[in-house]
Subunit: 213 residues, 2 copies
């Protein structure tokens, strides 16, 4: 009757491990392959433990979804705040979104898996909306600060339209660039993104894309 020896972890630690294992399994085997048993094995525990931390497998999936989305937004925001001018922050934000680690096949696969479940389980729709609006708001803030800095007057409505367009462009380039990573040189994508955004915002060529430090 030799039972496995084990380590009693803190709640935060254990939950994090389980979520990480969940994402590993989804990325590797698809959402159909992310079974309780696989996830538990990956996390180095037995299946029963999952129901000790999450009231159901679905709840764990939702927590995992939140984690993925938060990670993506945070990476871009973190890159942005390093910039010293509004122009630089906007530029860095855009580049970060079409550059690793945001452009990562694994992340894309996870993102898509969750998106496809929005229509099936409404709880996932709420998580998506939350993150979409927060991303859009971050972008809108960066944009309006940039226009203030450039002394270019802009109605809030116009700013919002720009934000939606830039958001779409960045999303699309992220998608294409990640799915067809081998078709694009790394710089090609970021450069295209900057050139496209400056065209979208009706800036002078080079105003965003020109080399700077």
């Amino acid at each position: 009757m030799n039972r496995r020896t084990y380590h009693r972890a803190s709640e935060a630690e254990r939950r994090e491990d389980l979520i990480a294992a969940t994402l590993d399994c989804i990325a590797e085997f698809g959402i159909q392959g992310a079974t309780v048993r696989q996830i538990a094995m990956r996390a180095g525990v037995t299946g029963g433990l999952i129901r000790h931390y999450f009231s159901s497998k679905d709840q764990m999936l939702q927590a995992a979804y939140r984690k993925v989305m938060a990670g993506m937004t945070e990476a871009a925001v973190a890159a942005a705040i390093e910039g010293e001018t509004a122009r630089s922050r906007l530029r860095r934000f855009i580049v970060a979104n079409v550059t690793p680690p945001v452009t990562d096949p694994r992340t894309l696969s996870l993102w898509a898996a969750f998106i496809s479940h929005i229509q099936i389980d409404q709880s996932f729709a709420a998580i998506h909306r939350e993150n979409y609006l927060s991303f859009l708001a971050a972008l809108e803030t960066l944009l309006s600060a940039f226009f203030v800095e450039e002394k270019r007057a802009l109605s809030p409505a116009q700013c919002r339209t720009y934000a939606i367009g830039v958001n779409a462009l960045v999303d699309g380039l992220w998608l294409e660039g990640t799915l067809a990573a081998d078709t694009f040189a790394e710089h090609e994508l970021a450069e295209n993104a900057l050139i496209s955004v400056e065209a979208l915002l009706r800036l002078q060529p080079g105003e965003l894309s020109a080399e700077q430090r």
Copy 2:
């Protein structure tokens, strides 16, 4: 021992029914819920029949993926060729991609489900690439015809850069517009798309978006 009575259908008909049932199930229950038995029930047959038409469930999923993607591209291309000028064709192509039936939550859910499986099964990657390149080529053709019509000289490289940018923008707007359909009035999205594309291509405001017949 009363067996079910049944109808012997043609191969094409049966395959189509099975693929349609597959898509129904994926959209309704997710890819995990699209089981052989569910699909068969939806198609009004018994499970065993599936392996008579497809050598495995996976092969049927691939056929279903092809069907979804072909439908999306065809809808946009069909809308485009109705236009009489290159400008009108480009305009119609863009609008079609952010308008029903292309912007449809069900279609998006299916698309995402398959995208998320690209990393797991390489056969899906090939299908994606095939369709992405064909969509990009269609767009590139429309664009270069448009620039010829406008008597604006453009290097092939420049045209390709534009195609990639416009493709990304259209993809992104399709995504956002479909996921957050209730946030956008129907016209809002199409109008934003046209305004954004004309900015991307450095056209005069109104050159694409202005009302026309």
